[in-house]
Subunit: 156 residues, 2 copies
C-alpha cells in the first residue's frame, strides 16, 4: 500500500535525523501526485529554530519546490500527530489530508508539550499560562481597513 511506504519514509526520517543529533524524533513528507515533494525533520535544537518542526519544514520545502503557497493537491505523512502549530500550518497550506502515526499523548509521554499546547490553545486568553494583553486596537485596525480596500491584494 502506497500510504504505508510514505509513512515509513517519514518514520525513517524521524529516526535517522534524531540519531544524527538534528532534534526531536519527528519526520514528515509531503506527497503530490504520488511523489514526495517535501521532506522534513525536527531541527529545533540544531537550527536554533523553535518553529522547525518536521511538518513545517516539509511544507516549506514542498512550497519552494512547487512554487506555490497552496498545497491543496498534496497529502502529508507525519510520524506523529501534528502539534497545534503544525496542525494550523496544514490548514493554512490547504493540505486536505494527513496521515499520522504516534499520537499527541505518545509525544507528551516522552517529554514534548503537544497535549498541553492543545489545552492552552483552546482556552480563552485570560486563562492561559501565557500572559496576553491587548493594546492599540484602533491603530492596528487602520491596516485592516487598508487591506480591505486594496485592489491589488492576493487573498489566501
Amino acid at each position: 500500500m502506497r500510504n504505508l511506504r510514505f509513512m515509513r519514509e517519514a518514520i525513517r526520517l524521524s529516526m535517522r535525523k534524531m540519531q544524527q543529533g538534528k532534534g526531536g524524533p519527528f519526520g514528515a513528507v509531503v506527497v503530490c501526485n504520488g511523489k514526495v515533494v517535501g521532506r522534513g525533520w525536527n531541527k529545533v535544537t540544531s537550527a536554533n529554530d523553535p518553529t522547525a518542526h518536521a511538518e513545517i519544514v516539509a511544507i516549506r520545502e514542498a512550497c519552494r519546490k512547487l512554487n506555490t503557497f497552496r498545497l491543496d493537491r498534496c497529502v502529508l505523512y507525519t510520524s506523529c500527530e501534528p502539534c497545534p502549530m503544525c496542525l494550523a500550518a496544514i490548514y493554512w497550506a490547504r493540505i486536505p489530508k494527513v496521515y499520522y502515526a504516534n499520537t499527541r499523548r505518545d509525544a507528551a509521554r516522552i517529554g514534548f508539550d503537544d497535549a498541553f499546547l492543545y489545552r492552552e490553545v483552546a482556552r480563552p486568553a485570560a486563562r492561559r499560562k501565557l500572559a496576553m494583553r491587548q493594546c492599540l486596537r484602533a491603530e492596528a485596525l487602520a491596516a485592516f481597513r487598508l487591506w480591505e480596500s486594496n485592489p491589488n491584494k492576493i487573498p489566501y
Copy 2:
C-alpha cells in the same frame, strides 16, 4: 510608554509591508532587554510560504540573532492576536508575554481564517474538516523509544 512604541512598530510593519505587496496586513516584533531583536511581517504570498506569518518570521529572526531556540526573556508585540499556528510557536519559543492589537474576529472579518482555525484545532480529529488518519503507530513508537534512551538528546 515603551510597550506602545514597540506595538506601533509592529503596526507600522503591518501597513508598510502590506502596501509593498509582501502579504497580509500583519506585523510583529520580538523585544529583549528593551531592544528589538526580531522583526516580522506576513510573507505568505510573496515568499510562497504559508507558515511565514509575522510572528513566525519575527521569532525565527530573533532566534537567529540571539543564537538560541529559547526566547524566555523576550516579549512579542503583534499587530493582531496570533492564530493557533503562531500561538503554539510562541509557546514552543518559551516567550512568556505577548501584546496584541487586532483580534481573531477582526482578522476573520477581513477574510482570514483565524477564528475558524481556533475552532478546528479544539475539535477531536474525527470532527475536523481536515481528514486525519492514523497508521503504523507501532513502527513510529520505536523512534520515541530511541529518543527516551538517547543519552545525547537536547530536550526542549
